[in-house]
């Protein structure tokens, strides 16, 4: 058995039908192939293309004239040739008439009509009298040809008999514009020797697809499985996947847990009391203005549970009483503290934890959304994630803070990191950190930290030092996934998520 290429059922059907019905060396056109193979034009086209590529078919193009009736031809088809109209006239006059009567009816065409009718032996002339040769005159070859063309609209030369071709040639000569022709390119299909060979060897029936029926009937034992083209493209399928922010948050959580931190959570909507006042942020501080902070319209918080905390907090603002501070020296307002904000930092969550538990020792963290009233663009989002942590202990210091933050970043793969002084109203000293990005060869600012001020801890009854930090998350995610537009992180881009290689 010669090696032959795998065949699609369409290919096979065509190949077998051609081998059966077309003699070697003979070619057929598309219509014939369609008739023999019983394939639809579309299936046939595909089968021809595939078989041609396998060299099982040769396809030649040939030019074939196509004939159709011209203006004169259309008139003839409708009214008849002049000689036929003469026969009709004679019939109407009872079989005889005079030449002058013919002239009256045919004018310039008189001699053509009479001459042709005489040639056809349809009429006989005696002096001025013309009479029909027989009562019924059968259709002539020319008339039959015009009818044939008219009935199909156009006809290919290959569909004309030899005699018809002759008639057509003489007619074309006699009547200009009776028949017009144009040349059409037609495929001629012929099996190659290889194709004929493949058709015979491929006569075995194959299994097209494994179906429950094929499996249960055992059909697969007696028939081979049709090989398929494994290189063909297939439809796109996209997997379900976790969002890159979630994946990154998971890493951050693991880093904290490995350092002995406990995760805490807290609400996004906060009272100004906990978001600002408890953190010793004075009430006229620019960050508390609507320019920067989202206030929820029409809400006034119920602070009745925090009477004690409020007294202590307001004193620390007004005169620092009990904290060793001068305070901010203004009149603190409970009204201002009862406004409801979308938290501007996750410190609102850790400070509440501290106020509630007053731990002597603790390591806690929280990761969540924070809000700033910003107009969104590729770089700024009104909403982003923050990584917040605090450690509480009797002898914690700035160098411990530097150690924890360095350790944390090294767990995330950043080993080159430096610290600068900065300012926050609630920490002293305050530092900011920058990490060096090997990939971009630049320093990136990532977050702030410090030691909570006594004005923060003392009013809430926290005795030991508190090291605290709030670090950016989104920029790290953007860095990892090479995101240029922060809006891509937040829903606008399904295509990006589908194609994202999660790391």
């Amino acid at each position: 058995m010669s090696t032959s290429l795998p065949l699609h059922p369409l290919e096979k059907k065509l190949l077998v039908s051609l081998a059966e019905k077309v003699k070697p060396g003979e070619s057929i056109d598309f219509d014939k192939a369609s008739e023999y193979s019983e394939l639809s034009p579309d299936q046939l086209r595909r089968a021809i293309e595939w078989l041609k590529a396998k060299n099982y078919l040769s396809v030649k193009e040939e030019s074939v004239p196509i004939y159709s009736l011209g203006n004169e031809g259309l008139r003839v088809a409708k009214e008849g040739f002049p000689e036929r109209r003469l026969v009709n006239l004679l019939k109407a006059k009872g079989g005889n008439c005079t030449f002058s009567e013919i002239f009256m009816a045919f004018g310039n065409e008189s001699s053509i009509a009479l001459g042709k009718a005489k040639d056809n032996k349809w009429v006989a002339a005696a002096g001025h009298k013309i009479s029909l040769a027989s009562p019924e005159i059968a259709k002539g070859v020319e008339e039959l040809l015009v009818e044939k063309i008219a009935s199909s609209g156009s006809i290919s030369e290959s569909n004309l008999l030899a005699a018809e071709k002759e008639t057509l040639a003489s007619l074309t000569k006699r009547y200009r514009g009776l028949v017009v022709s144009k040349v059409e390119k037609k495929q001629r299909i012929e099996l190659t020797a290889a194709g004929r060979g493949a058709s015979s060897t491929k006569n075995v029936e194959e299994i097209d697809a494994l179906t429950p029926q094929v499996l249960s009937t055992g059909e697969w034992k007696s028939k081979p499985l049709r090989p398929i083209d494994v290189t063909s493209p297939v439809p796109a399928v996209f997997p379900g996947k976790r969002h890159p922010i979630r994946l990154f948050i998971q890493e951050v959580r693991e880093a904290f847990v490995s350092l002995g931190f406990e995760e805490i959570i807290g609400p996004i909507s906060q009272t100004a009391l906990w978001n600002f006042d408890a953190l010793f942020i004075p009430q006229q501080h620019p960050s508390r203005e609507m320019q920067d902070t989202f206030y929820i319209s029409g809400l006034k918080a119920d602070l009745s549970n925090f009477g004690e905390e409020m007294n202590a907090v307001s004193a620390s603002h007004e005169n620092g009483k009990g904290t060793g501070s001068l305070g901010w020296r203004y009149n603190w307002s409970e009204d201002e503290a009862s406004r409801v904000v979308l938290r501007t930092h996750t410190t609102a969550v850790t400070i509440r934890y501290l106020a509630e538990k007053k731990p002597e020792e603790a390591r806690v963290f929280t990761i969540g959304r924070v809000f700033r009233n910003e107009k969104p663009n590729f770089k700024h989002s009104p909403e982003f994630f923050q990584i917040e942590g605090v450690t509480v202990g009797p002898n914690l210091n700035v160098r411990n803070l530097i150690w924890i933050i360095s350790k944390f970043y090294s767990k995330l793969g950043f080993n080159n990191i430096k610290f600068w002084p900065t300012y926050f109203p609630y920490t002293e000293p305050s530092l900011q950190t920058m990490v060096y990005l090997e990939s971009a060869q630049k320093w990136m600012e990532l977050g702030g930290m410090g030691v909570f001020r006594p004005e923060v801890t003392i009013p809430l009854g926290v005795k030991n030092s508190v090291l605290a930090w709030g670090l950016g998350l989104d920029r790290l995610v953007m860095l990892r996934y090479d995101v240029k537009d922060v809006r891509d992180l937040f829903g606008a881009n399904l295509g990006w998520l589908r194609h994202l290689k999660t790391k």
């Binding site: 379900g240 922010i245 002995g260 020296r329 700035v398 530097i402 924890i404 829903g491």
Partner: protein, 554 residues
Amino acid sequence: MPVIQLSLKNLLAWTKRRATEKEILDTLPYLGLDIEGREGEYASVEYSPNRPDFSSEAGIARALLGLLGLESGAPSYNFGQSEFKIDVENDEIRTFRPFVSGLCASIQVTDELIKQLITMQEDLTNGIGRRRSKVAIGIHNADVIKPPIRYYATKDKNFSFVPLYGTKAETINTILSETVQGRQYARLVSSGIYPMLEDSIRNVLSMPPIINGELTRLKPGIRRLFVDVTATEKHAGVGATAIMAAMLSDAGAEVETVLVGDSSGSHSTPDMSEMRMRFDLDLTNRVLGLNLSDQEAKSCLERGRLSLDSGFAVIPAFRMDVIHPIDLVEDVALGYGIHKFAPEKTESSLSGSLHPRGKKLERFIDLMVGFGFVEIYTLSLTSKQVSNLCPDQNLVLHVEDSKSENNEYLKSEILPVLLSVLGSSTHEVYPQGIFEQATVFSKSEKSEAQVLEVEHLGAAIADSAANFSAIKSILEPLIKLASGSDWHVKFEAKSANPEIFADGRVASVSMTKPNAGTIELGLVGEISPSVLETFGLRVPVAGFEIKVEPLISE
């Protein structure tokens, strides 16, 4: 954060060329100054609002010299007395804007100096002055003023004077409604009380905190300045005056004091007297993790331009940031050098743990990803279009003054947001399946902040074959697999309210258990064609929205 432009050429001159440009640029960040940009000899630096004394080149140079080790300790200022006096005249002013101080400074006024003074004055009045409400500063040509100066308040809106850059006298009314400064600051005098500074021949120097008079406008060539500072809070006014005085003195001016008096007596301004605060070495070493001796700590403080005198830190009047001994700790840290702090390991016997809630939420994520859905994160703040699709409009929360109309409402449902994501992804291959797990918000009087925050899960399938049964066949196993044992999932026909779903193709879903009752979870259904049209969607979408709260607290 305020930004100031520094001339490196000037800074080099301040150091008398004992430091290089590189040393200066390397040191600035260790003063807490962020270098924002460089252009030629200029560097823009951002300074922290707690250091208003950094609002001038002179102020930054003063600190820089300390950190570079070129000068040390608290600078002292001794000013002679000028002939200027300010009389505080009436009770209205004593209650409305009680504090006033002044100073005189003889200096050759140049364009460059005017620019620096104006920038500084703006930074101070915007920052510690809280946009002039707390502190306002006026800088005048002293030579045209005939002291003594009267400080009083009038209620007469028709009182008139020639305002800055004006050509003729205008009434207060006109000035407030027609000058730029008037319109910007009119709110500060909305009570109808107008503070005035006038000289002895009734020329108006200024109507603080709104606008100066034209008479005393600064021009190059002037040789003597008068500066007035008015304030609602004493310490802010005193600090701002000291900062102006120190800056002018450092810049080479001969500064003289101005007497401020009323019927009860008078005092000399600016008040440059240093504050003394006990320095706590133990606290310092404990917080910084250092073991500094008295002498070492002293030298660190001195590099920060403070002095130490018998256990007390001596703090110049312009250092408004020092309000607690902990602030001295920071000065020691800066004087020591933040870059010299070595990390110190801290051990803890505490064991870390993840919040149990997060673990439970992860179950839903696992299942949804397993069902082939792509997880989406969207903002909590959404547009009106999206928010309108939430069922109970009365409970929807709105934020004030959002800078974008896409971020005005807090989302109370996830599904509408998912539809908007699908609407912007119509060029992507179908089928599309997306989900989000997020906190949603609604008004609630039960919580202290009047906001109820609940965890929801929303999912949607967009596909020619998306229909009720396709989405139900996801939701049903999801709830069964995520809920505790024995719960039975129940679907019930629901009328299409909310209108997001198509009538006849929506069900409520709940879970029930004998003896435990029924817990409503949410809704599932085919999205109504009119909603699809709103989001430009031409394929069917089916989706669900459920509370996961009952399932995770189970």
